[in-house]
Symmetry: C2
Subunit: 208 residues, 2 copies
């Protein structure tokens, strides 16, 4: 597998783009410097998720940015995505790995060092750790402190990405923990100028 | 693939079993003569669907009854189910077949002869046709008449299963169209004596 740049990892939420076209917003985000994209659809039918994933894969391809599918291994297989992201309520990692093989990325959401180490031992390619800050996107998410994030980063060998309420105001302190990157949702997709928002974050990450 | 007996095809709905244990109800239904079982979970997380499917597969195995998974190809793969049932809002049949291969059953829901013939041409193993009668389970389903069902049965070569509001009151007239079997939900799972309900339906089907 090619080297993955986790530094600015966009997780989608179609509800956030408001009146704008979802696919155009994703194109702008990629043009602005998003390095990895996770397509997340919790309400769509399988047919709809599949159609959306095909379109998003085409857009990612234009920018040579890998596409990760959230939760749905069947959709990841159906569009031959670059990987799958699973949470603690999704398919077990061992099952997902058995079906996807070693050539696909599998990321795992974790909130504690124990969960992170278990995921690493089970073969996760990267970890999504959070929520770092309060967020409207996943209001039930457990809070993870910067020191907990640092402890996880120091105690696993795989890339760690922080998620949850990360934006221009806090990306520098989060990146200061030495992690591989940050996952953002509304800090890019809910902004008026999506491309400029991605560029600004990317610049802050590079100089962090 | 072994010959499939479509005659009494149970589609699950955990909400219907009321205060009884879901798995025990399924065991009773299988003991009563259910010949094929489709596990349908529209609200469960992937992790939950997977855990339920593992248990149901074990129960089906005791009765040598094939297990079909509704909609979720990833769950079908994860538990090595015998097949997948897809509706018009699920993954396209061609995509599902490409991922599942020829050794797994794929059934397709259809409401018109055109949909039925398209599914057959695309390689469906069987068709689920309905809704035949009003049902509380899928209130938005289009109604299919007995004459439409008969026309579909006569114009496709693959097995046809009727679904939607079928029970002891109408199973004989439905089977009279010459189809391979009936799909039932509440006529088995919502009954006080699940095993007796399955036995009664099975008897009516055999003598139809
Ligand atoms: Ni075969």
């Amino acid at each position: 597998m090619k080297d993955i740049d986790y530094s600015l990892y966009l997780v989608t939420d179609r509800r956030l783009v408001g009146g704008k076209d979802f696919y155009q917003s994703l194109g702008e985000a990629l043009a602005g410097g998003v390095t990895l994209l996770q397509l997340r659809e919790k309400e769509a039918s399988s047919a709809e998720f599949y159609r959306i994933a095909l379109k998003v894969k085409e857009i990612c391809g234009r920018y040579d940015v890998p596409l990760i599918i959230n939760d749905r291994l069947d959709i990841a297989l159906a569009v031959d995505a670059d990987g799958l992201h699973i949470g603690q309520q999704d398919l077990p990692l061992s099952v997902a790995r058995g079906l996807l093989g070693r050539d696909k990325l599998i990321g795992v959401s974790a909130t504690t060092l124990a969960e992170a180490q278990l995921a690493e031992a089970d073969g996760a390619d990267y970890l999504g750790i959070g929520a770092m800050y309060p967020t409207g996107t996943k209001s039930d998410a457990r809070a993870v402190s910067l020191s907990e994030l640092t402890a996880i980063r120091k105690n696993v060998a795989i890339p760690v990405v922080a998620i949850g309420g990360i934006g221009t105001a806090n990306v520098t302190e989060v990146m200061g923990t030495g992690i591989a990157g940050v996952s953002v949702v509304s800090a890019i997709l809910a902004q008026d100028d999506v491309r400029a928002a991605a560029q600004h974050l990317r610049q802050l990450i590079i100089t962090a």
